[in-house]
Symmetry: C2
Subunit: 137 residues, 2 copies
């Protein structure tokens, strides 16, 4: 393997592993800067791309125009709140859809993604509070 060690890449990977949300490159940059103040945004992008390419992290497209990254590479699905934009994991098994999909399809299906969209728990509570003008404890 022609990969060399770098503390920048380590920090990026470590930061991602400590998060359960799905940060963007900009968020990774802002946070890794706390330990490596002069790290470059380009370095963050390059290493996120590299880590995703070699399969150590995964890149998530949720439709907000920004790439998100996830240290959890086990197969799972995502939920995106249309209110606050948060990306969270869905606690459900991965579906065996590819066999069903392949019945009417002549190419080769390699993998699939599912995104659920709606309003997350927090935003649901917030809108109830707003509607009834009360504060839940």
């Amino acid at each position: 393997m022609n990969l060399k060690h770098s503390k920048q890449r380590d920090s990026i990977k470590e930061f991602l592993k400590g998060r359960k949300d799905h940060p963007t490159a900009a968020v990774v940059y802002e946070n890794v800067r706390k330990t490596i103040p002069n790290i470059s945004l380009g370095t963050v992008y390059r290493n996120l791309t590299l880590l995703a390419d070699i399969g150590e992290i995964s890149r998530i497209h949720v439709g907000d125009g920004v790439d998100h990254f996830d240290a959890d590479i086990s197969p799972h699905y995502h939920f995106i709140c249309r209110e606050c934009g948060n990306v969270m994991d869905m606690d459900m098994d991965k579906m065996d859809l590819e066999k069903a999909a392949g019945r009417n399809f002549c190419g080769e299906i390699e993998y699939h993604t599912i995104c659920f969209y709606g309003k997350c728990e927090k935003c649901c509570e917030a809108s109830i509070q707003k509607k009834h003008n009360v504060t839940l404890c």
Copy 2:
């Protein structure tokens, strides 16, 4: 409704309706230009966004960094060829996944998308031809 009529918007909608693939804004622009030569790319973007917002078309994110648009707003899933980048419809029923997903989730699920990724029929054939150095009829 504070919507006024415009031939630009009509052309955009009509072009989209005549396509079974899922063109990008740039492709829409290039084609609508054949009937309205001095239409602006900004107008295409604005109207695609407007039509998507009012639900007359849908915007598709497949992860290639470019937005695709689809005049077919009936619920269905997509396949994206990782070789040629084509976006096509999957001929399968929409799954009832939201009930299952909601069991361990406290927010409100409004809709979901599924994207299958792999190699399309054409690209499969092309790679077989390349491997065996033959031309299929």
